[in-house]
């Protein structure tokens, strides 16, 4: 394992030297996407449906009203939700959409049985950018929200 860590540090050091003489700027749009995902998760965990739906696009595929129903159903059936995720990729279409692929682990208490459950998977989300703000436009593969 330490060999792998050394390798990572070496790669990092090489890139640092490579880039040290060049101008700098941070990647704001990726940050904004990550913040939007964090805000969606925070709203979902704290069961704030109004806040959650405010980050969903009006033209959400599958229909925004049906996603609203699906989230409401989650809130009726599960409680004490915890979500951790790592982003695999953020790919823009250089127009108005950004595709995000992430791997997540979700734990929750099933209200009907009282058991603690673990669930993991990959979800692909598409965000539509309107006035520099990302709105959730679609969810594919294993949905992160509205899964019950």
């Amino acid at each position: 394992m330490f060999k792998k860590i050394h390798l990572i540090i070496l790669i990092f050091a090489f890139l640092f030297l490579l880039t040290n003489s060049l101008s700098a700027n941070s990647n704001v749009s990726d940050k904004l996407i990550k913040k939007t995902i964090d805000d969606l998760i925070d709203a979902y965990i704290s069961r704030s449906l109004e806040k959650f739906m405010s980050s969903v696009d009006e033209s959400y595929t599958g229909d925004k009203a049906l996603l609203d129903d699906a989230i409401r159903k989650d809130f009726s059936l599960i409680t004490d939700i915890s979500i951790s995720y790592t982003i695999n990729s953020i790919i823009p279409d250089f127009k108005e959409m950004v595709l995000v692929s992430l791997k997540f682990t979700r734990t929750y208490t099933d209200i009907t049985t009282g058991t603690r459950n673990i669930d993991e998977g990959s979800c692909t989300m598409i965000f539509k950018i309107i006035n520099n703000k990302p709105f959730l436009y679609s969810m594919r593969d294993k949905p992160l929200f509205g899964f019950k």
């Binding site: 394992m1 792998k4 990572i8 790669i11 990092f12 890139l15 640092f16 880039t19 040290n20 060049l22 700098a24 700027n25 941070s26 990647n27 990726d30 704290s46 069961r47 704030s48 449906l49 109004e50 009006e58 033209s59 595929t61 599958g62 229909d63 009203a65 129903d69 809130f75 009726s76 409680t79 004490d80 951790s84 790592t86 982003i87 695999n88 990729s89 953020i90 790919i91 823009p92 279409d93 959409m97 595709l99 692929s101 791997k103 682990t105 979700r106 734990t107 208490t109 209200i111 049985t113 009282g114 058991t115 603690r116 673990i118 993991e120 990959s122 692909t124 598409i126 679609s138 594919r140």
Partner: protein, 545 residues
Amino acid sequence: MNIIKRSLFVCLFLIFFVLYPFFSMGKQTEVHFNNEFSYTYNDVSGPAGDDSSSLTRGMRYLNIFGLNILGKDKELEYNFNFGFKATDDRRNDIKTISPTTIYGRMTNKIHTITAGDTFESFSQYSLSTAVKGVSYKYFNEQKRLPEFTFVYGYVLPRWDTIWGGVETKAIERNAIGARIKHNITSDLSAGISFTQAKDRPGTRITDTDPIYTSNNYTIDAEYRPIPGLTIKGEMSKSRSSVSPSSTAGINEDRKHGTATKIEAVGDGGPSRVSIEYEKVSTEFDALLGSATPDREKIKGKWRYNMTKRLILNLGFLWFRDNLDGQKAYRTDSYTPELGITIKNFLSRSTATADITYKFNRKYGSGSGSSTSTADHILALNYKDSFGPVDSDANFGYTIYSTEHNQRSSKEYTYNLLLNSRHNIGDYVLKPLVYLGGMTIRDDLILETDKTYEYSFGMGLEVPKLKLTSDVKIGQNRLEKTQPGTDNTERAFANLNIYYKPSLFNKLKLQDGMLFLRAFVNNYRFSTQSRNFRENSITLGCNIQY
């Protein structure tokens, strides 16, 4: 994937991603990178820890790296992105090291080539997914010629699917797409698209994985006849064949489907009105796009600013299934909705009240065992400020009713968030209190479930030191009255500290940050053998350049 395709990918990326950016460096090139490295120590104890905890025990690392090179060479702009993830925690990834993002894009504003992770969104039904491949776009705004886009690649979940490994294996889906779009006038545009998705039969993971071949032919248009009014629509036809399994003797299924959508949005003065109609036939496939088959839908929304203080929201949604009459019964769903937002509520300048009522009615009709439901959903929200304290209170009341004694229950939800911000010298304190709960009364089995959460938090910012932190403690409880079921309880504490040392600024790493995240979760159940406890601490460093 065969050796030719692998070689093609390797050559393509060498030329596009490595050689061009390398030789272009020093002209007008910017290089940025972002690296986050963290070490986590997880401790899980208790009889149910192994089965119930999502944490991987012991010391685990996670490194996420992203490199972005962008620049300009005369008329040519280019952008290259590369990212990888390294971890020894299988909760983070099934592979120790895996590339995450690899793409490059070059454009002279007329010709655009993208290779690697390529995301071209044509329209909802035709193409709205990323492929690992290439795309070419021609768009000459000055000559007012049609925009042409071509995309070719593979729909693969990960890059390491290409070079194999059982863990990352996936069905190989080849994708081809072409689109011509033309702005006929400044108010009218139209597009025509062709997409093809083709799975390779030899790449099935299991014998029963369906293998698809699907062609979609799509037209779409957008028209703005007067300022504030937009009419847009899309129609797509799919021709698909599905091989349900590799077992000999099972016939291939051929499907022909159509999807149509038309939407009008009027936005002017105090009103915003939208009307939408959609019909997606049962056999319609959108393997590269997005659609819900077997649905006909009408949706309308009206938002009206009655006065500066009063906003009215009206909505209506109807949809049904069984479009081809093959099911034993069809279900029609009606959802009218009414919402009122009142600003300066009770003459308080800081108060906003929001009331929403929604009625979910589903009718099942036909010869089968259909069910009908009638759910009433009421939600109240009140936001206000009392001196330095901001408050956000919610109350919800829902009645669920499904015939044939399938469901009859009432649900009450309530939560209150109080938070404030205090500047004391060089420090900023941000206390918060959260109280929330839900009561579900099941009128069929005459049992009640109750959930509670209460938590207290304190945020501390020291702007001079570029330090932010927060701590939160609380408890979640589930109380059940039904015999034989478990009550559960989680006591928790979280601590987060983020520090941006000035050393990073000196190294030109403006957003460089050190962080510490720690949490404790203590789960207790009525059945004590289910109890467990999680302790986790993460130390990390994020560097952006």
